[in-house]
């Protein structure tokens, strides 16, 4: 009796400290973004107040409607969306067949191919920016979306092949064989049987690539020279260089850029954990 009692007490004590620790961690990681929101809601006059106040004296929600007029936010979003979406489509079209073939076949050069995939996965475009810049000049693609789409597609290909092939490999071959007996082609089987089963992998690959392209900074900074063509990351940061920085509008714009990707990311949270182990811990 006493033992059961004490163990239950310890259990609840442990639960309380676990809860507190959990909430503190959550608060730490969300705090900068909450402050971003607080700053975005301040009227212009309070941005440069000394000493700075924690909360806006007047909660200026209209900043979120004004921001579209003050900075060319719509243009930035259009650029970012077009680039990220195109890169993601390229990745999926190229990665799905490659991942499927790798998952199902032993072939000459398979090890070399997987090694190439792994090595490109490890490289960020930052490491190669000087080579990329020179190549893009040679191709006459400076200041084009095409350059960014191809680069983001290529650098994110590896992650998707990796994730998808482990999803495909986990699908029993019997299911495919049954479809073949019914007379389906290999491509038909892939489309009608395998892809629906690997949907979590597809979603994970899609969202990962989209967000990677949406958030990319250094290559866009280097290759895009026309301010009107700049994607969000570059466009918003160039505002800082200006004489009077509208921090409230800058952060309103940042939040508009951040919130959708966070929601997308959270939407795949369930698959993210599984997808990550499948993709990285082989």
């Amino acid at each position: 009796m006493t033992m059961a009692g004490s163990s239950r007490k310890r259990f609840t004590g442990r639960k309380v400290s676990l809860t507190i620790a959990g909430w503190v961690i959550g608060a730490i990681f969300i705090a900068p973004y909450l402050y971003m929101l607080l700053t975005a809601l301040k009227p212009q006059a309070e941005i440069a107040a000394i000493p700075i106040d924690y909360l806006p004296s007047k909660w200026t929600w209209s900043n979120f409607t004004e921001v579209w007029k003050i900075i060319p936010l719509a243009g930035y979003i259009k650029s970012s969306f077009f680039i990220a979406f195109s890169a993601t489509i390229i990745v999926l079209i190229f990665a799905v067949p490659a991942a499927y073939y790798v998952a199902r076949n032993k072939f000459r050069g398979r090890t070399a191919f997987l090694l190439l995939v792994l090595i490109t996965q490890m490289f960020s475009p930052t490491a190669l920016v000087i080579g990329i810049f020179r190549e893009i000049i040679k191709f006459h693609l400076v200041d084009t979306y095409t350059s960014l789409i191809l680069i983001y597609g290529a650098f994110n290909m590896a992650f998707s092949i990796w994730i998808l092939s482990s999803f495909f490999a986990s699908i029993p071959v019997d299911i495919e064989e049954a479809a073949w007996i019914d007379g389906a082609s290999r491509f038909g089987t892939l489309r009608r049987v395998i892809l629906p089963l690997a949907l979590p992998g597809l979603v994970t690959a899609f969202i990962f690539t989209f967000i990677a392209a949406w958030n990319e900074y250094v290559i866009a900074l280097t290759l895009i020279s026309t301010p009107a063509r700049e994607p969000l990351t570059v466009g918003l940061t160039t505002l800082i260089g200006q004489y009077q920085v509208h921090w409230n509008f800058l952060f309103a714009g940042s939040l508009i850029a951040i919130v959708p990707v966070v929601i997308l990311f959270a939407a795949i949270e369930k698959y993210l954990v599984g997808g990550l182990t499948a993709g990285s811990v082989k």
């Binding site: 909430w23 961690i25 959550g26 608060a27 990681f29 969300i30 973004y33 402050y35 971003m36 700053t39 000394i50 000493p51 700075i52 390229i90 190229f94 067949p97 073939y101 790798v102 998952a103 199902r104 032993k106 072939f107 000459r108 997987l114 090694l115 190439l116 090595i119 490890m122 490289f123 490491a127 080579g131 990329i132 810049f133 020179r134 191809l150 597609g153 290529a154 650098f155 290909m157 590896a158 967000i211 958030n215 900074y217 918003l236 940061t237 800082i240 940042s254 850029a257 951040i258 990707v261 966070v262 997308l264 990311f265 949270e269 954990v273 990550l276 182990t277 990285s280 811990v281 082989k282």
Partner: protein, 296 residues
């Protein structure tokens, strides 16, 4: 894990893997070769190659007065950020693996720095650390810790510490989730069995959980190693590597030499050295993870 080659097409692997391979070769491998080639050429300020010049760019790089400090700083940057990230992520993952009210919200909160653009995260940190209008000064003054406001990013050493803090802040979520994934793969009955054996909490963690987490830890550590070494937006948006070159790493230095100082040859030499460092990191990873045996 190939499951036998069934119904191989007429052209073998080519139609399936060809497009991906071509894109990777053209947009990843080609720039790498172009960069290495550039590092052995004389390039004028407009970017036009004036011909082969042997190792002159590398000589210029070695004589660059900012290089030694930058190399030391890069070693500190990478080792501190990666080690602290893993050390912080282990308990964070353990806590988030436990069941408590609001766990979903906390997991959501920790996704934010991972999903958000790093450059935007860097900007809010820069604003919080501002010498005049920064909220950190206000908090520390209200708590009585500071008397006068401090320009946190104005002094190189202080700025560098905060750059590392931000790098850790954006690396922990990813690492935590990889470790969480590792924790999820540990079957409950292993934990229960070890509990029945009478192993206490710490011993159980060290002898049973930790070894099972090793693959996840290894993967996240090496990926962090490479990401942190390559990290650009945090430094660029918060200090620009300045004042002067005092908070640059070899990655931002390579960029600066090229796009600010217009010495493309020397910059390519720096970037090629960085490239080789990453290749070494990757080969270490392949070796310790016994890549060949486990993947094919």
């Amino acid at each position: 894990m190939a499951t036998g080659s069934i119904r191989r097409g007429r052209f073998g692997a080519l139609p399936w893997i060809g497009p991906a391979v071509v894109l990777i070769l053209v947009m990843v491998v080609w720039p790498a070769i172009e960069m290495i080639r550039t590092s052995f050429h004389e390039i004028d300020q407009t970017g036009i190659a004036k011909g082969w010049n042997g190792i002159t760019n590398y000589k210029n790089l070695i004589h660059n007065p900012d290089l030694p400090q930058t190399v030391v700083r890069t070693v500190i940057w990478v080792s501190v950020v990666v080690v602290v990230t893993v050390l912080v992520s282990l308990p964070v993952a353990q806590i988030l693996h436990g069941k408590f009210p609001g766990r979903k919200a906390v997991r959501f909160a920790i996704i934010v720095p991972w999903a958000a653009s790093v450059v935007m995260t860097a900007i809010i940190w820069r604003w919080m650390l501002d010498g005049f209008y920064g909220i950190l000064n206000r908090i520390l003054q209200d708590l009585g810790i500071l008397k006068e406001p401090v320009d946190w990013l104005g002094n190189p050493n202080q700025a560098f510490i905060f750059l590392m803090v931000v790098a850790i802040f954006v690396s922990v979520p990813f690492t935590t989730y990889v470790i969480l994934a590792g924790l999820t793969t540990i079957p409950d009955d292993i934990l229960e069995a070890s509990a029945i054996d009478g192993a206490n909490g710490w011993k159980r963690y060290k002898e049973i959980i930790f070894p099972l987490l090793r693959p996840a830890l290894l993967v996240s550590a090496v990926i962090n190693l490479i990401n942190v070494f390559n990290s650009f937006p945090i430094i660029w948006a918060m200090t620009g590597g300045g004042p002067g070159y005092s908070t640059d790493t070899t990655t931002t230095l390579a960029y600066k030499i090229s796009f600010r100082d217009q010495d493309i040859g020397q910059s390519a030499a720096m970037a090629t050295v960085n490239f080789i460092v990453i290749l070494i990191f990757i080969s270490i990873f392949l070796k310790v993870s016994k890549w060949r045996e486990t993947s094919s």
